[in-house]
């Protein structure tokens, strides 16, 4: 995941590199993802979220659809 000054810069980067433009993530969404994923990482019982938990976390932030589904087979 990379940082961009604006949506226009994302479009330019994708076009220049031949990549598809994917859903964009805002600063607030990214902070929530980071705290949800990592706030317990230095603790004994820390672990990565399971696929169903990931789907729920993403959906809670409005990040839905096949792109954010960790078990989607749409991109095989």
């Amino acid at each position: 995941m990379l940082s961009f000054r604006s949506e226009e810069r994302v479009g330019e980067w994708c076009a220049a590199n031949g990549y598809p433009m994917r859903p964009l993530v805002t600063m607030d969404q990214l902070w929530t993802l980071a705290t949800t994923w990592y706030s317990t990482r230095l603790q004994e019982n820390s672990r990565r979220p399971q696929p169903n938990e990931m789907r729920s976390i993403f959906a809670g932030l409005g990040l839905e659809g096949d792109f954010w589904d960790p078990q989607s087979d749409s991109f095989g």
Binding site: M1, L2, S3, F4, R5, S6, E7, R9, V10, E12, W13, C14, A16, Y19, P20, M21, R22, P23, L24, V25, T26, M27, D28, L30, W31, L33, A34, T35, W37, Y38, S39, R41, L42, E44, S46, R47, R48, M54, F58, D66, F67, W68, D69, P70, Q71, S72, D73, S74, F75
Partner: protein, 146 residues
């Protein structure tokens, strides 16, 4: 506490304290175990996606959100310099440490610097955006590229 958990905590706490990856020997000393047993714990932690190892099987490339190698995503917390694996992880380091910090990165297209203060409740309002090229289902096909 199991050896896997001790190993995981030793690795993550070393990153938190120094900003750098620990060697296998340092981790083994910290958990007071034989290096061969710790190497086996590394493999199990890799299978759990808590670690990404270099091809040598012992050097830590990633202990997310920490990077074992320099990247363009720099995070400063309490005067310690950390490298994050990508933008998401640059936010993850202050979140994991539960400390305010500063993120220094750049716009991937224009090169414009991103200098961002992160408080305990997150970043101040900012219009920068983040783009994830790889679908979630494919992240671990090549996590370094992701």
């Amino acid at each position: 506490m199991s050896l896997d958990t001790q190993t995981k905590l030793a690795i993550y706490r070393h990153f938190a304290e120094t900003g750098q990856r620990p060697s296998l020997q340092v981790v083994a000393e910290r958990v007071r175990a034989d290096v061969n047993n710790v190497r086996e714990a590394y493999e199990r932690l890799r299978a759990q996606r808590m670690l990404v190892l270099e091809p040598d099987g012992v050097s830590i490339r990633m202990a997310p959100p920490f990077s074992g190698v320099p990247t363009q995503h720099v995070v400063i917390v309490d005067e310690t310099k950390y490298f994050a694996n990508y933008a998401w992880d640059s936010f993850g380091i202050p979140a994991a440490l539960k400390r305010p910090g500063r993120i220094h990165s750049r716009c991937e297209q224009s090169g414009e610097p991103l200098n961002l203060e992160i408080g305990l409740k997150g970043p101040s309002p900012c219009s920068w955006l983040f783009h994830c090229l790889v679908p979630a289902a494919r992240w671990w096909d090549d996590i370094v590229f992701t």
